[in-house]
Assembly symmetry: D2
Homo-oligomer: 325 residues x 4
């Protein structure tokens, strides 16, 4: 919801906002692109420009997602991320930073390519996150002494499947990439200056798989971890001389792993899965690049269904498509 409010000789005044923008507060530049196909009459929305993220006329309302500070049980790095309501409050953008201003014909392709590259990135991002999730599941199982249990093996193989199928989709999308875009009804048509564009159907099926699996992954982690993370003592209780020895005795699950190691593991498990930031991470994974209903539309509209019907027509002895009227 961002539009050109006013055109001047030396630039434009933009008004509106971009919501749910990850890491906008710590970026050097904010690049604004249209996010849907535009029609005649919508020229004010055919808008593309870049400005520094702390530019005059921009207000960012930031939500930060950090983990609970640690005192005793140190880890090598803090983790956190932010997202912003980026509000353009009649922000002036000089012409040399404006790339589109009124060219409605480019709205659709800008939206399509933004989504396509975002979805393609899931095939790298989510398998990497799954490596971490699989590591959490594996260590939780080891600490709980159930690493060889058949139901754990079943769940681990589910996690591995999601990660590796997502990676394979991205790999295939890259390897089949060409300087072409798929236009429903036309098929692949050349596009752009020659830079490689990943294959759209593999981008979409990979994103769909990995993006929509995140709640089931949380279920698997919960199943393997048991109740421990939900009731885990606070760091101050764990280090309080009056309770330290008793707590360590009663929360140790696997005698072969030092208790301090087990505590560090669970604190990190909690950070990523039961903290005030963990819910937001799931929302990001689930909706980023396109909500499930948008993905269904993308997949079916970018798929050549008629050619598959042709196979059936041939096998069934039906009249071929071109001959029917």
């Amino acid at each position: 919801n961002l539009w050109v409010h006013y055109k001047k000789h030396d630039g434009i005044i933009v008004r509106g906002s971009k919501v749910h923008i990850s890491e906008a507060s710590i970026s050097d530049e904010i690049l604004v692109v249209p996010n849907r196909a535009l029609q005649k009459g919508e020229e004010a929305y055919a808008l593309c420009f870049a400005v520094p993220s702390d530019y005059e006329g921009i207000k960012q309302v930031v939500h930060f997602h950090n983990f609970r500070k640690r005192e005793h049980y140190q880890k090598p790095a803090d983790f956190g991320y932010t997202d912003s309501y980026v509000i353009f409050d009649d922000c002036f953008v000089p012409w040399d930073r404006v790339f589109l201003c009124g060219e409605t014909q480019h709205g659709g392709i800008a939206a399509l390519l933004f989504a396509l590259f975002h979805r393609h990135s899931y095939s790298g991002c989510k398998p990497a996150l799954l490596d971490f999730v699989i590591g959490l599941a594996g260590l939780a199982a080891e600490i709980n002494g159930i690493e060889k249990a058949p139901h754990v093996r079943e769940m681990l193989s589910e996690l591995i499947m999601t990660g590796e199928l997502g990676y394979a989709a991205g790999y295939t999308a890259s390897d089949l990439g060409k300087p072409e875009v798929y236009v429903p009804g036309l098929g692949f048509v050349p596009y752009g200056p020659g830079s490689c564009i990943p294959n759209s159907i593999y981008c979409n099926v990979g994103r769909c798989l990995t993006g929509e699996a995140v709640y089931h992954e949380q279920e698997i982690l919960c199943n393997i971890a048991g109740g421990l993370p939900a009731t885990f003592p606070y760091e101050k209780d764990l280090t309080n001389p009056e309770t330290k020895a008793l707590l360590e005795k009663y929360l140790t699950r696997n005698p072969k792993i030092p208790t301090e190691e087990q505590i560090k593991f669970w604190l990190t498990f909690i950070d990523f899965n039961l903290s005030g930031s963990s819910g937001s991470m799931l929302y990001g994974s689930y909706h980023g690049g396109g909500s499930p209903i948008m993905e269904q539309i993308a997949i079916t509209s970018q798929y050549d269904l008629e050619s598959k019907k042709d196979i059936v027509r041939a096998i069934a002895g039906m009249t071929p498509r071109q001959k029917r009227k």
Copy 2:
């Protein structure tokens, strides 16, 4: 892991702990019962007693789950809960508060009945929580303007199915209840002084359904809500004169509902689903009364599989069970 450390003429000394005990810190009394079948030689664990929850010799390490305090957007009541590591640090219990001490033969039935009543309670508790979840889903859809969308209708009907099937399981378990327990191999046998015991198979299938559905319910809420809850502004930004009007403009989704109402809705949505306490609630629902793998064992061990094979034997013309050797 709690046992009789020492017997005295006027009572017993108990040592050990009960972990993951909900609301133990605000209860008047703590009742300790065995949680598995016991064998000869395990007399020290055949232990049942009740003491006040702030009794001498008890240490509780408490984890509290409260929601973020509100200043401006008031709600009628705060919500929160606690759980405890209840540690019995050589706690003296006088004989008049000891109900079992060494009678191993009662371990199994105590564990079974504790689990059974806990599981039965899911058929009241979870449908009620689902009423709330369905309300959240319905209002989120209304605010987002998608209440009539087919994919939303599909998700609402899934939520309704879980709630009503869970309720029906509990209803049936109650209505078929008798002063009897099911003992694998023996069937139902009379038990207790005459108080009604709910039917075990319906308790278990109901608990399984509602307890294991919670992550899918979160997925549905996320799907319907969209990204808004993950990046929702802080209360201080929402009330800050510099940003209030802008934020209200850009976060309002449905012009028919007052913006302040929408804000109150999302803040409560976030409390229950994206807060530092929401992850723990899911763990409680998922594992309470028995983890999935324990439920599978309960269901199959309390089910008369042989009688079902008999049906097949009859239809297939096989030799009836009793005639085979």
Copy 3:
């Protein structure tokens, strides 16, 4: 698609057909009722009557679903069923067999009650069929020597859950039954001469669960059975002196069960799950009483969603429903 073609002084001429009618060819009487709400102008479809199934003017095109005849491996009874295209080819129905003729206001309730009772019957029918499926799964596991394997226990517990939750839904629908029907927007209103009408929401959630589970049940049977049923020898090969001993040697899985018993089991397993009739049975279970998309509509339209939103409004401190304008 059946309507009154012509009214005469002594009766009516009906034209049209009822398709997919189970067992119409072996019924004594065919009862025709409207299957949707009717509006002014659709009087010809407001039609209810009963005639013998071999009545003049009726043509039935019958599809029969029988199993392969057995010669050697006898079973106590044959199984089979039929369905019909029942075509009314200008069939005359005398007035004393006509119950509705033009009263459009009864179309909706007739359709609703037909569906309701059909769906309620699923809660008896499908759990009984699941008893048989569970028996097949249990015996297949026993013959294959995997009855105690954890993944088999998991699948058995899934089957048991479907059957018992479906039964509980029907039980609850019956026990809460009253001479009332649920009308969306009005709630329950008295209906009929006093005969009990099962509670609609429990009828629907039970039917949905058991009707839509049938393909997953087939998957479980396939998983437990292994490849054997797909390549099982013909009866003539099993009894051919040249191959009998060799085949019995190589198809026996469990040495404790007589080979002839195992053969009878698999032949019956195949009849119900891999025969020319088994696919049609699944279609009947899946669509009977209402396809999944119709069930979603039924469940959401017969559910009081607003009262669930009220719970959220109260907890969130929003304005109560009645006070909003």
Copy 4:
């Protein structure tokens, strides 16, 4: 279960059988390989040889899977397949056709490579079959007039996801292929004369996905098709002058598609999904190359879980693996 019964100077006598062997009756040659790791003492099972499929001493008990013959509604080709119990009834194999005889050390790798190539072939075979399934679903939806319904779009996108993710897995397995095999505990080690061996983890996740999806695919076809295929008239009724016109009237769903085309479509739909052969095809797809439980073992045993735990250890500040004792 096939072994060397007797060694002679000019060859060996083999006894035993291979069951569930697809198309063995129409193959030129039968190649026998070990199907599991072998230990010292199992030399008789370390057996590999090739003989013509109608060789002396071989008995094949064949199950053939053909479709109902058509008279009027012709199609360009018949479809069918066979499988066999291949029984080696003391079959003599001359030495020049024997490749392994007692070398137990090759059992494991022969089994692993057979399974690996079989599983890899799923990534070509199943996506091709899914093309056909998607064509069936698309035409059924078109004939039923629901091609644009949201719930149909959702199901089509599910089918497309399975096919394209399976294809991507095979593509990636091929592109990452090397003359190496993965040995749990050792990682990839060189193997063979230099021919390319597909990457094992991608072979397995692709096979798992496509092989285990077949029952859900049947559910989707059933959902879209409705009850029509289950009660479809016989060809003789469809061409019988007394019923032809009436049946065509009542089974036509889409007035834009010639009725004869619709009939041909449904007859082919039924052949592949509701016939006496369709159940066996599902069993072949589901268990071919490895049942689900074997796939879980393959995936988890060929996956480097410890390296994923290392990621967690690093992020959590735990002691690195190599430093622990």
